[in-house]
Amino acid sequence: SSVPRSRPPVQPPADPAGVVLHVGDQKGGTQSLLRAANLLGGLPYRIEWTTFSAGPPLIEAARSGAIDIGQTGNTPVIFAAAAKARVQLVAASQGNVVSDAILVPHDSPIHTVADLRGKKVAFGKGTSAHGQLLYTLRAAGLTMDDIDPSYLQPSDAYAAFKQGQVDAWATWDPYTAQAQLESGARVIATGDGTANGYSFEVASNEALADPRKQAAVADYLRRVDAAMRYSDTHRDQRAVVWSRETKLALPVTQLAAQRGPDLPVPMDDRLVASEQDLADAFSDAGVIPGRVRFADIVDRRFEGRAAPL
């Protein structure tokens, strides 16, 4: 593989003109964000979008150089670090943590996190909900061993949740909003005070090794920054676009959008520590083998260059 193993050095400034930037995206993700903010015009390079269903396959693609950059949540990047994937985290953003919720059916006898003891809880293994559940349980003095985990991806989990096959479901928006609105699900805990709500831009080492692509990445990051801020101030518009792209009912996306979008944050020590803590929690839970040094894949060099447009 031509993908460099270690972090490529900072390249001399170059002209990104003519470069094709392969960007990985998820449905209703960055592309729609940029389009809504009208920031896709006048690019000196060309963007080729590739859509992924989730974070892990996006990282799979990034580490083989199949894509240059793409956004993913706070948990898949930990596995990327554990797998020593040839990628760098070049930017971070933080969203509301209210939507990272643990849900129960409206008529459930469960009211507090402590009530979850011995109960069947659905969540996707290795998703951000997994991490959030780890935290929430820990805060309530419980561990994973105290509950009966049912590993289900969101779609399957929702089906099982509606049929009463599981007692609780740890998930995120727009699923939280959908479950709340469609089946009256009750929130017994949110990520407030526990989850960190980070998302990361994951860049392939291969892209960073190319001066012109590096320049394109820098420019792209600037635009994403701006788009997030725009979407924060245009939440209704965001909900409409979101609904159109995911075919979720408008009220669902409106509820999700009102909780606030992701906003850029610096990758400071607090962020690294928080992620390291999450990684350790996964290590402790035996989900990943050994210890992970999260800082190894954090590449802060683009933050200075990602000045606002």
């Binding site: 269903s53 693609a61 199949a66 969101p154 929702y158 075919k247």
Partner: protein, 283 residues
């Protein structure tokens, strides 16, 4: 002692043009029958009845009517027709690739002892590899564009074709192979006139299976970075819990299954028309 057969006309009158055989096997040959529609229609009717009477809750399975509406929606948005077109292109390319490779390998390993000894074991090993597990490796090796998708389809198609062709070739009547040998058939003629027609019924079963599997594979293949295609439409609907759209996808697949079947039946009817319809066949 010199006698002429009544049935043997003068030599000159023997037609020498190689016209296709049109044997008088009679008008008993079966046509596509409307009766084949009885059970599909019955299923839809029962389904609709169960839905209207509430026996089948709407959130367990959307009613045919609601599925029809959803189908209309995704048709209007262009999602379904475009998805079909995109997937079709991938399926066709992948299918051709896999079918050709499967056919060649199957004939080869079926015909020659060493071919069988060398080709068969790795194929038997590879054929159980799960697509879902191959996806990450395929991304690593072939990126995220069309190549891995087409290859996944090809891989899915290859094995049923291979296995059925191989078995068909092995099952070719050895008496006919012997006849071909002593009648001066060259290798090409043996394959074309003895092996291929002899293996055809089995190969057609392989074709049936593999056409089905081609469409199944595309669902997995389109989880690799795509934003269009029938498979994508289904995974996407699944992601966002649109049960009705999932069912639309399933119905489209069922129709594709029926279409495939009709196609293969056609080929079958043409290719096997030498089989006389005997009374015993319908015991």
């Amino acid at each position: 002692m010199s006698t002429t057969l009544p049935g043997a006309p003068a030599r000159a009158s023997a037609p020498s043009s190689p016209t296709p055989p049109d044997p008088s096997s009679g008008p008993r040959r079966r046509l596509p029958t409307w009766q084949r529609w009885i059970s599909p229609v019955a299923i839809v009717v029962v389904w609709q009845l169960a839905s209207t009477t509430g026996l089948l809750a709407e959130d367990e399975l959307a009613s045919p009517w609601r599925v029809l509406t959803a189908a209309w929606d995704v048709t209007l948005t262009g999602e379904l027709p475009q998805g079909l077109a995109v997937s079709l292109a991938r399926v066709v390319v992948g299918f051709l690739l896999g079918a050709v490779v499967g056919l060649v390998l199957g004939v080869w390993s079926g015909l020659s002892r060493w071919g069988g000894l060398l080709i068969d074991p790795p194929v038997q090993m590879l054929r159980t590899l799960p697509h879902l597990a191959l996806v990450p490796l395929f991304i690593l090796w072939f990126g995220v564009q069309e190549t891995p998708k087409v290859l996944l389809v090809a891989l899915g198609v290859l094995f049923p074709i291979y296995l059925n062709v191989h078995a068909g070739v092995r099952g070719v009547d050895p008496k006919l192979l012997e006849m071909a040998r002593v009648s001066g058939f060259d290798r090409r003629e043996v394959i074309r006139h003895v092996v291929v027609p002899g293996a055809l019924p089995s190969a057609l079963t392989g074709l049936r299976l593999s056409l089905g599997i081609a469409w199944l594979s595309i669902v997995v293949a389109e989880t690799v970075s795509s934003d269009s295609g029938l498979g994508y439409m289904i995974t996407d609907a699944r992601e966002f819990l649109r049960t009705d759209v999932i069912v639309v996808g399933l119905v489209v697949y069922a129709l594709l299954g029926l279409g495939t079947d009709a196609l293969v039946r056609r080929i079958e009817r043409r290719a096997l028309r030498w089989r006389p319809v005997l009374a015993g066949a319908d015991a």
